[in-house]
């Protein structure tokens, strides 16, 4: 296929206007001896050929009934979300540099910012960051710039993918990363107090944490504030329909992953991170922010604002290097959050809890399976300890088209999670799917 449009006559006209004889002359400045004779890429294909090829490749992927989460979740995506995100006016535009010709994207981001603020009870949000992991990184960077110290306390129950990304980002910046050990799956006040001091820049706690457990954010945040450190909450936005919000416990920055808000799992990307903070930290935010303004007739409109934080103006002193981010996924989240109403959104969170709790109760009553962390409150994930071979369990489940729990046996260096597995149950799982899971586990 070729998507260019010119015929020979047009091309010759154009060459004449330029004042050259052939296309080759356009590349005269390029070292002649290095110009390629051949590009080692296959011949082109038509649409039909491509479809046949890609359908064959797609068949090599297996679609499974998922009881696995650990950062990426199988949630329902309403038809409206897909309809809007697929509109070419959103999909094929770019960063809204020309505000008057980009009001669609700008207003949608403004609505998104507003919805994220409403959800978290914080003041200022923006769109957007690459994913949940880099969102945590950006929050830590904000805290370092604000406090001018470099000591970060991080819960070891933060998603391990996020921890790995944090380590990659901060290795070269001489930041002191100190990990807080969990007690029975969550961070204990005393563990935090033992590590907190006046030099502590920020404390990073995820809730629901990697094990699905809800942390006591109120008291962890309270103690963090006693030492004038910033509290960074890593939250699952869906859980906030039910659980205490970052604004309620007075977090300084909340971040997280938006994939569950209208983006498909897509092998873990493309997703989208969110960040939201207090007014006092607004100028430290990374990336684009949309603000409301007026046009010369006094009509409301929206523009990119507070741009003097950004790389295209500040260069080496910018608050981040982010340019292209995940705008279309933020739009998906915006449409997702717009359609539930307050009650519906709460109910969505409750259905997740109900289904996960039902599964949890069934599994822990089986022979050879028990709850790792007792009866603590969780959202839609929980850890089960077993006397059985987890790899074998997952093999058998896979044979039944089920993506079983994540094996956590090697997830902790101190073998704290030996023989443990992480289950996830979202609103997508039906009772009959859950019951078949239980039936299979019974037979193992």
């Amino acid at each position: 296929m070729d998507y260019t449009s010119k015929n020979k006559t047009e091309q010759n006209d154009m060459l004449k206007t330029i004042g050259i004889n052939c296309i080759k002359d356009l590349f005269v400045n390029i070292p002649r001896n290095l110009v390629l004779n051949k590009l080692n890429i296959c011949h082109g294909n038509t649409e039909q050929e491509i479809l046949t090829h890609l359908h064959n490749v797609a068949k090599k992927n297996k679609i499974l009934i998922s009881f696995r989460g650990a950062g990426i979740y199988d949630h329902y995506i309403p038809a409206l979300v897909k309809e809007i995100v697929n509109r070419s006016e959103f999909r094929t535009s770019y960063t809204p540099y020309q505000a008057e010709a980009s009001q669609g994207t700008l207003q949608a981001i403004f609505e998104y910012q507003s919805l994220i603020c409403a959800l978290t009870d914080l003041d200022v949000s923006n769109a957007s960051l690459y994913d949940g992991a880099t969102a945590v990184v950006e929050a830590i960077l904000m805290s370092i710039r604000y406090k001018k110290t470099k000591k970060i306390l991080i819960s070891e129950a933060l998603n391990p993918e996020y921890i790995k990304v944090i380590i990659t980002y901060f290795k070269h910046l001489e930041v002191d990363l100190i990990f807080l050990e969990t007690t029975n799956g969550i961070i204990d006040n005393n563990t935090l107090l033992n590590k907190l001091d006046d030099n502590t820049t920020a404390v990073v706690i995820q809730s629901p944490n990697y094990f699905g457990l809800i942390e006591n954010m109120k008291s962890l945040c309270y103690w963090t504030k006693k030492f004038n450190s910033l509290f960074i909450a890593v939250v699952n936005p869906l859980s906030l329909g039910v659980f205490c919000t970052p604004g309620e416990y007075n977090a300084d920055i909340a971040v997280g992953e938006n994939q569950g808000l209208g983006s498909p799992m897509s092998f873990g990307g493309t997703t989208c991170g969110f960040i939201v903070t207090k007014k006092s930290l607004a100028w430290r935010l990374p990336g684009r922010i949309v603000g409301q303004t007026k046009d010369i007739k006094g009509e409301r409109g929206f523009v990119l604002t507070m741009q003097s934080r950004e790389q295209h103006i500040r260069r080496v002193n910018a608050t981040s290097n982010i340019c292209t981010n995940a705008s279309l996924n933020a739009l998906a989240s915006c449409v997702f959050l717009s359609g539930w109403g307050s009650k519906g959104f709460k109910k969505l969170a409750e259905v997740n809890i109900a289904k996960a709790k039902y599964t949890f109760k069934q599994i822990k009553s089986l022979n050879g399976f028990s709850s790792k962390f007792g009866d603590q409150t969780f959202f839609n994930e929980f850890v089960i300890k077993t006397t059985k071979d987890i790899n074998k369990i997952n093999k058998i489940l896979l044979y039944n088209n089920i993506l079983g729990p994540l094996n956590l046996s090697n997830a902790n260096a101190n073998a704290k999670l030996k023989n443990c597995m992480l289950f996830c149950v979202t609103e997508q799982r039906t009772k009959s799917e859950i019951d078949s899971l239980i039936e299979i586990l019974k037979t193992i």
């Binding site: 006016e89 980002y169 007026k294």
Partner: protein, 475 residues
């Protein structure tokens, strides 16, 4: 102007609903519960559909108009790529599925890495970075790790003043100091100055080739030789790779490491500001430092390899922006070698044609020949108080998105045009005609009309000063 969501909210039944086939009492301890009320709008599906559809119509987009936004490569995005990327067998895949159940995805990634190697002259690629700037950071972290491994303390990176702002901010984030290299008046690297700056502290030189004026760096081979003699790594910023695909490879020019903006060069839609994808390619000696996991072809199937002890680690959760990766894979398969080469040629032809029609009356700091894009300086022709931004806004009245303005920073009153290969001669002719009317006619006769443009857009000229001085960032 479209109302806001909170303004159209009523007491109606909202758009979505959820049922539950399980009855379970949910007892959440009170200290963990949300106590604040959630102020989400209640809007029907019909009203929401109208709202967002109307919003979409307030956008100029590549699917509705010519979008000559320089440096952003707004070329046509083949529709079949979208259709493929929406296939449930690609997007309903969990990242932690067993390798045997994701062979399709791994095959796509592995093969795209190979195609990118063939196009760029690099030996290995990682597809993990989420965007161009994220690729820059990944590349710089790889460079830092390399010098750490060979026990050399090199703390600075040289970046030309014409570079994208992401270059210096990425270098900073990777822990380097940045030395800015002033360009010559035509945007080329000043070799004498470069020689003065090169010393045992310089880890890397980051170059965009062709540069942001759209001009090929004529001394590139000298520059890469100078760098290598100094033990310095040459970093290729792939923002403008689309100008040379199939013509020449960055690897052959002496570059050691690079990133590619897949969404630009390989035509994935830009999504109003992402998602993108910023793969990083390296020559063999830098391979040990690439992010984990690597994808290996072990003859019978594809597997992940996490056992890379010198790797910089992970730069993003999971493996990369798969849908963008998939669209680029499809694009390369659609065009093939001949299509890719022709695209480059037509992109350069289009840019030079536009430039030829404009160069006689307007200053062109980069000279009268360009590659895929060019930069004009309107400084000497602006009259009656009109600024470049006004000209850009006036173009919106004629239904065009505006070119990039005020970048690169080294050109005063700059306007940067990139037509791409997928625009027809008729489109270019019409645009040039309008552009000339604005700058040669309206600027003299109707300068006020330009200064308060746009007139036909959904809102008139917006006040950015008010927005920044008194930020209103939510409803």
């Amino acid at each position: 102007m479209e109302k806001l969501l909170n303004e159209i909210s009523t007491c109606c039944q909202p758009a979505y609903d959820i049922s539950c086939d399980i009855n379970i009492e949910i007892n959440i301890p009170s200290n963990l519960q949300r106590c604040s009320s959630l102020h989400f709008p209640n809007i029907t599906e019909s009203d929401l559909l109208r709202h967002f559809t109307n919003l979409s119509r307030n956008n100029y987009a590549l699917s509705t108009t010519f979008y000559p936004l320089g440096s952003c490569t707004m070329k046509h995005n083949p529709l079949i790529s979208e259709q493929v990327a929406r296939h449930y067998r690609f997007n309903q895949i969990h990242p932690y599925q067993d390798e045997l159940t994701i062979q399709g995805n791994l095959e796509i990634m592995y093969k795209l890495e190979q195609d990118l190697c063939a196009i760029s002259g690099m030996d290995y690629f990682t597809l993990q970075p989420a965007a161009g700037a994220h690729g820059e950071l990944t590349g710089l972290l790889i460079i830092a790790k390399y010098f750490e491994t060979i026990k050399q303390k090199r703390t600075t990176v040289i970046i030309p003043d014409s570079a994208h702002g992401t270059n210096p901010s990425s270098a900073m984030l990777a822990g380097f100091n940045v030395i800015t290299l002033d360009s010559t008046h035509d945007g080329q690297i000043n070799i004498d100055k470069l020689k003065q700056l090169l010393n045992e502290n310089v880890a890397a030189i980051m170059l965009t080739v062709p540069n942001t004026l759209g001009v090929f760096e004529k001394n590139i081979l000298t520059i890469t030789e100078l760098a290598h003699n100094n033990g310095t790594i040459m970093y290729y910023d792939g923002a403008n790779l689309n100008a040379i695909v199939g013509i020449i490879k960055p690897g052959d020019l002496g570059f050691d490491i690079m990133h590619i903006n897949l969404h630009k060069t390989f035509a994935a839609p830009h999504g109003g500001g992402g998602p993108g994808s910023g793969p990083v390619g390296v020559k063999k000696f830098l391979e040990p430092f690439l992010p984990i996991p690597r994808i290996i072809n072990n003859k019978t199937h594809f597997v992940f390899n996490y056992e890379k002890h010198q790797s910089i680690g992970k730069i993003k959760a999971f493996f990369g922006n798969f849908p963008v990766i998939l669209k680029s894979y499809v694009y390369i398969k659609l065009l093939g070698a001949e299509g890719l080469i022709n695209s480059t040629k037509q992109a350069v032809l289009n840019a030079n044609y536009m430039l030829a029609k404009l160069r006689d009356n307007i200053d062109v700091p980069g000279g009268h020949k360009c590659l895929h894009e060019f930069v004009l300086s309107l400084k000497s022709i602006l009259k009656n108080g009109v600024k470049t931004v006004d000209v850009a806004k006036r173009l919106l009245d004629y239904g065009y998105y505006a070119p990039t303005i005020y970048f690169p920073l080294i050109v005063e009153e700059s306007i940067m045009m990139e037509p791409t290969e997928t625009e027809s001669k008729q489109t270019l002719d019409k645009f040039i005609e309008i552009f000339k009317i604005i700058i040669f006619k309206e600027m003299l006769d109707e300068s006020d009309k330009i200064k308060c443009a746009p007139h036909t857009t959904i809102v008139r000229r917006l006040d950015e000063v008010i927005a920044a001085r008194n930020p209103v960032l939510r409803w």
